[in-house]
Amino acid sequence: MSATQEFRIKWGMVIDLDKCTGCGSCMVACQAENNVAPAEDGLNRRRALNWLLVYRLSNGKPFPDHDIAYLPRPCMQCGKPSCVSVCPVVATTKDEEGGIVSQVTPRCIGCRYCMASCPYHARYFNWHDPVWPAGMEKTLTPDVSVRPRGVVEKCTFCHHRLMAAKDRAYAEGRDPEKLPDGAYVTSCTEACPNGAISFGDVNNPEHKVHELIKSPYAFRLLERLGTDPQVWYVSRREWVRRLGDNYLNNEPTKG
């Protein structure tokens, strides 16, 4: 099976970095939605899992030219995912309409090959069984499974929300393959207080993101690696766009 497949629907996320204040609401919303156990120390790399992680970018200049930006990083749901091609047990695939890269944790054998291959560090390994402080297990989302130790996990674009949106479409007699804009959005999209995150089908002209990705200020992370990510970033600041890829000193920034 080839790792690349074209889909009619392409779920995509557009993050406006100029609107992002780095507040971290998206990270919290993601963790709560996707049953990621609360870590005692979020900075402990062995313990903390972040399906969505906010990075801080800096232009590295002294005051008064100093500037910073924040960059939330979900799984890019690459069009040509390197993780899929290296998985020895077909635990991660890109074969579903919409292009979301799956992660079937019962199938995963924990070899962590995919983590090594992912250029975005979007994948995390469960070194320990998750622990919920007493009483907090009531906050678990029933439509998301809980992962045991020994498997890799990652952002799924809140895939369960896609299924819920489709179920509603079935019940209302609408076509589940033609969801209207906003019927399916991820938890982080909903949580962003500043509206920095937009979500939808980039192939569907009726969805907002269809236009957003055409902006001259839109770019994708490490685009020239050829992974064809389904997450776009928008920034009007050139230095931010320049950090999105590896440029040679004499190369002009895209956009």
Binding site: E96, S102, V104, T105, R107, D143, H160, M163, A164, Y170
Partner: protein, 211 residues
Amino acid sequence: MEDRQESTAPQKEVCSRFKCRLCGVAPFFVGIVVALVFGWWLFPTLMFNSQEQPVQFTHDTHVNVAGLDCNYCHKIRPDGTFSAIPTTKECAVCHQVLLGESRAERVFWDEYVRPGKEVAWLIYQKQPDNVFFSHAPHSLENCNNCHEFSKTELCLFCHVNVKDKAPTYHENRLSGYSKDTMKMWQCERCHANPNHLAGTAANNACFVCHK
């Protein structure tokens, strides 16, 4: 071929020697039979415990005597979720008073309706945590765009027959899962059916059924 024909000459001797060897091999055959009995019959029975439903509810009474439609108790809500099994309060619409003399109803009334407690129904088809299933795409309206199933026919593709008495529930002692769940290949037999792949959203991608 030729070799074998030549070796038929000292047949008698071979035969007696063979008999003797059979005596030596016999314990192994017995061993295999014992192992097969253990592996195929005894172990699977030991693996599962049997439980009865907490309330001896019968579908036949409610569907044929009380004249209820399946949808009265098992419906797909307008938002696409499945109502599953009614709450005690919903049953109590009728069971506010004792309707008959049966012991089962008495138990239901005494232990659940009066204290207002929910019944811990055992779900034969309860899937593991990592499986995503939803009834909305498998609804009668949806399937009958192409087929002509009756309601019970449809449910029986996937469910045990609960028409008369509620069947015994078998739980795996190790995993805690029900014995009567649908296995992955059973879902896939229908999902990977070329006739379905072409015209419906029945998809065999892993993430359709897993979460």
